[in-house]
């Protein structure tokens, strides 16, 4: 994902984010010409995904604590075409900023009714929508008094191996942006593409706020028949 036209991505070595220092490869990557292996990709279908998986407020054992939100958007490719029927996986901290993970030792309460995990498929027009609670910010050990801005992790396959994307969605006007080396690892011109917009039209009256987060997959496109 470091090829021409993909400079929206952060450099692998971003020393402000300490974990990159021993994990970023040092050798220049080698160009892999696209063959059928790269121009195809997993087609997962609806099988592993149930409609209930798109509501994180209810997919635990009861109703989650926190500010209910709707997150929706469209997934497109770099030519502006909708990416239909692709799996979108999300995971996040709870409203207090705690993950349901054995390594998360943050002194904030777990919510017994919140797993923080959701899945959905884009529809025929590339649109997706899920319901969750707004995640809390949380401290981490990168530097003194380090806090991650509130975010939701996203994972997408797209229509080809080239299009695989894992990213994080942030919330508008977070005062922690200025201090976060992960957010700031992205070239400055592209950072706002990681920030959802408040979307009044997506709110559910008397029930949940709405945010819109469109996603553009930069990898080379999907249909091998066209590309070869």
């Amino acid at each position: 994902m470091t090829g021409p036209g993909t400079t929206v991505h952060p450099p692998l070595l971003s020393p402000g984010y300490k974990s990159t220092i021993l994990r970023a490869p040092q050798q220049a990557p080698i160009l892999l010409p696209h063959s059928l292996t790269e121009l195809t990709g997993p087609v997962l279908g609806e099988g592993p995904v149930a409609a209930a998986d798109a509501d994180l407020t209810l997919n635990g054992t009861g109703e989650a604590q926190g500010q209910r939100i709707v997150v929706h958007g469209q997934v497109r490719d770099s030519d502006g075409r909708a990416v239909p029927d692709t799996l979108l996986e999300v995971w996040q901290a709870n409203a207090a900023g705690r993950y349901l993970h054995k390594w998360d030792r943050h002194d904030a309460p777990l919510d017994p009714h919140f797993t923080g995990v959701g899945r959905t498929m884009t529809d025929a027009q590339g649109n997706y929508r899920f319901v969750t609670v707004k995640p809390g910010a949380y401290p981490w050990g990168n530097h003194p008094n380090a806090w991650r801005p509130a975010h939701i992790h996203f994972s997408l396959f797209g229509l080809a191996f080239t299009q695989r994307l894992v990213t994080q969605m942030y919330f508008p006007d977070d005062p922690l942006f200025a201090y976060d080396p992960i957010y700031n690892s992205v070239p400055e011109f592209a950072r706002d593409r990681l920030v959802a917009g408040f979307d009044l039209s997506a709110t559910v009256e008397s029930w949940a706020l709405g945010f819109r987060f469109d996603i553009v997959l930069t990898g080379a496109g999907a249909t091998p028949m066209e590309s070869r």
């Binding site: 080698i30 892999l32 059928l36 292996t37 995971w91 349901l100 797993t115 695989r164 070239p187 593409r193």
Partner: protein, 171 residues
């Protein structure tokens, strides 16, 4: 002209809550004929095992076909506390003029975007010799892309950094 893309961000340390599937590591069923285990360990530039990584594999079936009904082609396994992954699959067939290979995505805390590599097979020396992708790789580094035969399949370690750094690709 391309539309502006969405930037990548790290998968973070808690990837396993979001990306673990029970059947993720099983590209094929346990009783599939010619099933093999693809096993290995992921290490950082200090040689330490990486316990918060995810390996994803994408491959054709043994006849070199993608999207065969009943064959998912995708493997996904988070590393364990010792940095190890294990994916049960079948050896892929030949695609066009290339030696049998599996495309691999590696995600981890500390990787701000995925890295991509390929697995080739040590028991295909003639095909590897003629492979146009391996030919692009300096000879002294090709070995990092070759999985060795093991007792129950193949072994393929991934080193993110350092003298034994795995070859990664731009796609």
């Amino acid at each position: 002209m391309s539309a502006p893309g969405t930037p990548s961000q790290t998968v973070g340390p808690y990837l396993s809550i979001g990306l673990t599937w029970d059947e993720g590591p099983h590209v094929v069923a346990a009783d599939a004929s010619d099933a093999v285990w693809l096993r290995g360990e992921i290490r950082d530039g200090a040689g330490a095992a990486i316990p918060d990584a995810l390996v994803e594999t994408w491959q054709p079936d043994p006849a070199g076909r993608f999207h065969t009904p009943g064959f998912r082609g995708l493997g996904r396994c988070p590393t364990d506390d010792d940095g190890r992954y294990a994916i049960r699959t079948v050896k892929p067939g030949v695609v066009a003029d290339q030696a049998p290979h599996i495309d691999v995505t590696v995600l981890a805390r500390g990787l701000l975007h995925r890295v991509v590599t390929r697995i080739y097979f040590a028991d295909e020396p003639a095909a590897n010799e003629a492979d146009p992708v391996l030919a692009r790789v300096p000879a002294e580094r090709r070995g990092t892309l070759i999985a060795e035969k093991s007792s129950d399949g193949y072994h393929f370690d991934i080193t993110l950094q350092g003298p034994d750094e795995t070859v990664f690709f731009t796609i």
